[in-house]
Symmetry: C2
Subunit: 136 residues, 2 copies
DNA sequence: GATAACTCTATTATTTCTATAGGATTAATT
DNA sequence: AATTAATCCTATAGAAATAATAGAGTTATC
C-alpha cells in the first residue's frame, strides 16, 4: 500500500507544478485544495524541501515552490524519498539493499526471483514518468 | 513492502511444488527447511488450504500438499489471497476497489494516474508467472 | 489407546503509519 | 519597533496493521 505521506506528497507536488509562476504557495492553500491535514502536510513539505525538491520562503507572503522544472523531476526519486524502496523486499532493492537473514541463497529463492521482476516493472514506470506527466 | 505472510506463503508453496509425489508434507518440515516460525506457518498454510491452493491430511503421516499443478497456479491469485490488493491504492484496484474520500475526481488525480500504470506493470508480471516458474 | 499431525480461536507483542501539539524562528508590513 | 503571517522543528500520542505465540481441540494411523 502507498502511504498517505507519499500520496499527499505527490498531490502537493502536482499542485505546485500547476502554479504558473514561482510564487510561494502557502501550506494552508495546498491543504485546503487537496484535502490534506495541514499539520501532516507541513512535515511532508519539510521533507521535500530538505531533499531538494522544494524551496521555501519564511514569513509573511512565504510558502513553498518547486526548485526544478516538473519535467526534471523523475518519479523514481520522489518515490524513494517519500515512500522508501521501490522494491517490495530489501534483497532486490537497488538503493536500500539488505540481505534476508532467513534466506541462505538469493539465487535459489523464489521470492527473490519474482520480486526482482516486479521491481523492474515498477522501475520502468517510475523512470519514464516525471512530475510533468502527472499534470492533467 | 511484502508482508512476511506472503513471503513465507510463497516459500512454502514453492517448497511443496518441488516435492515429487503428492505425499503430504508436514508443517514442521517446511518450517525447518525454510526457516519459518512453525506456528506462524501453520496459520498461513491454513489460509492456503481454505482458499483452494492446498489440501491437507490430518493425523499421523498427515501434512499439506498442492491440489493443482504448479503451472496452473498464477501469481495473481496467490498474491491476492496472501497479500491482498495488487494495486497500491484502492482506487485503482480491480478486485478490491474503493473510492478515495479525499479525492473528488479520479480522472484528474495525479496519484490515480501514476498508480494505474504501476498496477498494470505489476499485473503483467503476476499474470505471466505461475508457481512453476518460481522453481529454480 | 497412544501418538502425531492438522484445526481453530484468542491474545499479545511489535512495528509502522498517521496525526497532533506547541513552541521557535523568520520576514514583511505598518 | 510591534504586529502578523508564515515556515521550522522536535516530540509524542494514537491508531492500525503485522507478526508471532499459546493452548486446547480434532482426526487419523498404528
Amino acid at each position: 500500500m502507498l502511504s498517505k505521506k507519499t500520496k499527499y506528497g505527490l498531490k502537493a507536488l502536482t499542485y505546485l507544478a500547476t502554479q504558473k509562476g514561482k510564487e510561494p504557495v502557502q501550506i494552508a492553500e495546498i491543504s485546503r485544495k487537496e484535502n490534506i491535514s495541514q499539520k501532516f502536510l507541513e512535515s511532508i513539505l519539510l521533507t521535500l524541501r530538505k531533499t531538494g525538491f522544494l524551496g521555501s520562503k519564511k514569513g509573511k507572503g512565504g510558502g513553498y515552490y518547486l526548485i526544478k522544472e516538473p519535467s526534471e523531476i523523475p518519479m523514481t526519486s520522489v518515490i524513494r524519498v517519500l515512500e522508501g524502496p521501490i522494491a517490495m523486499v530489501p534483497c532486490v532493492s537497488l538503493n536500500f539493499y539488505e540481505k534476508c537473514n532467513d534466506c541462505p541463497d538469493e539465487k535459489s529463492c523464489a521470492v527473490h526471483k519474482l520480486m526482482l521482476q516486479v521491481r523492474d516493472s515498477a522501475l520502468d514506470v517510475y523512470r519514464k514518468t516525471t512530475l510533468a506527466d502527472l499534470i492533467i
